[in-house]
Amino acid sequence: MNPPHAPGFPSVPTGCSDRVILHSDLNAFYASVEQLLSPSLRGKAMAVCGDPEARHGIVLAKSEPARLAGIRTGMTVWQARRLCPGLICVPPRFRTYVQFSELVRNIYGRYTDLIEPFGLDECWLDVSGSVRLFGPGYAIAQQIRRQVRQELGLTVSVGISFNKVFAKLGSDLHKPDGQTLITRDNFRRIVWPLPVDALLFVGQSTGEKLRRIGISTIGALAQMPSGTALQLLGKGGLQLRDYALGMDTAPVVPAAEFPAAKSISRGVTASADLLTPQEVLSVIAQLTQEVVHVMYRTGVYAAGGAISVRHPDLSSRDCQCRLPLSTRNPRTIAATLGELYLQKCGILPVRAITVRVYDLRTSRAGEQTSLFDCPEEESRMERLDSAVDAIRTRFGVQSLLPATVLTNTKTAEGHRCEKHSAVTTLHGNYSE
């Protein structure tokens, strides 16, 4: 006999059914977009390279024939050309990639609003609430793959699992245009034989530490005694072991606003100390030009700006402020940051300056413009700036500069000054 149904308690226990998480990864994303938009590149060994003319430019993405020739992401153009003499290198078009990234996310959005981007080309989707409507996770993955392929001409690989870590791992297993289901029943068979660094968050050095004590597969990591895990890797070690056991309860957190980059910075150490406020302001203007160039390439506006200055005694000062509107107008940004410098950190002499913008957004929609702003003038300037940017994309940032920064001999290209730059994303830094 069934026990009587207790009032206030559901007869079917809730919270026990597993989540359905997908991880969808666009295959060779930048390279695929370039091949889509230039059919003559299709089927050829090609790579998208940062600064392809420069020896130090690096491979950002490569086509399948290039991969077969041994080209790897992160190689320098010079190394890549040595491996594959016929390699076609094309420069990146970040705005177009952002555009496609949004189009793909629109397709995901047909199945769930719980979409967590991981870079431009990867997303986690929690479709637990959608399976009654669209079928099981595996069927949703098939629909997504078909729609991305037919509507956009790109391919995605999808992992389907009960947690984010295994879903991510599954999306790596069948490329391109494949999908892998990892369940509580099959994960020991599918996941455990894989090399330990196939697991998310197992980086190179962790992987090496584990291999040194004989743990080379995810299965071995799963069966590692907790004492050893703790001793070898600290608390993070226990966490990794839990992941290997399928114990990952992290939720899919939708990103409210799109941009992958959190901040963009450009800095310079001058070849000689900057002695006057004018010199400092002029260098701020110069660095702002370079930051704005990256903003155009990534298609973002910034609502916050910051500068940090270092003095010859190595003391330094940072200050930040809101920008009047989210903007990528280099004059607005340079003027605001110049003001900030004069008010908050105007100590001389200055040895190094970094300009940073943060609080990045892809659109200015829904923004309250101030009473005294002139939108027509602003959009006219934006057209001018985007024309300037197009020239810089072709001929380099230094090809076109405002006259005010031409006097910056202490930070000019080719002088004994050191430049550094970074784009910080939600998932770490990459230097440009």
């Binding site: 938009l37 059919p39 555009q99 496609f100 189009l103 037919q150 509507e151 001409g153």
Partner: protein, 84 residues
């Protein structure tokens, strides 16, 4: 090899944002569109386009496919022989 053949199109924009092509101008000839049979996002293989919409239409009793690319606001057809 398929190619993208640019078209001039006369279309009606509804208050809800629907775009309905009414006639196509190609090589100086105007072709009236009798009916739009279907509209859906579809990128024809081997064609350079960003998320185009495929309109299957009836022109003079024959089914034709024409495409609209929202990002460039251009219409095109896809034929290897260059004919509509």
């Amino acid at each position: 090899m398929q190619r993208r053949i640019p078209l001039s199109v006369e279309a009606v924009f509804s208050s809800t944002g629907m775009i309905t092509p009414r006639q196509v101008m190609f090589r100086g000839v105007v072709y009236a569109i009798d009916r739009v049979l279907s509209v859906r996002p579809f990128c024809p293989p081997d064609i350079a386009a960003i998320a185009p919409l495929r309109y299957i239409v009836l022109i003079g009793g024959t089914r034709k496919e024409i495409y609209y690319e929202p990002s460039t606001r251009t219409w095109f057809s896809v034929r290897s022989d260059g004919l509509l």
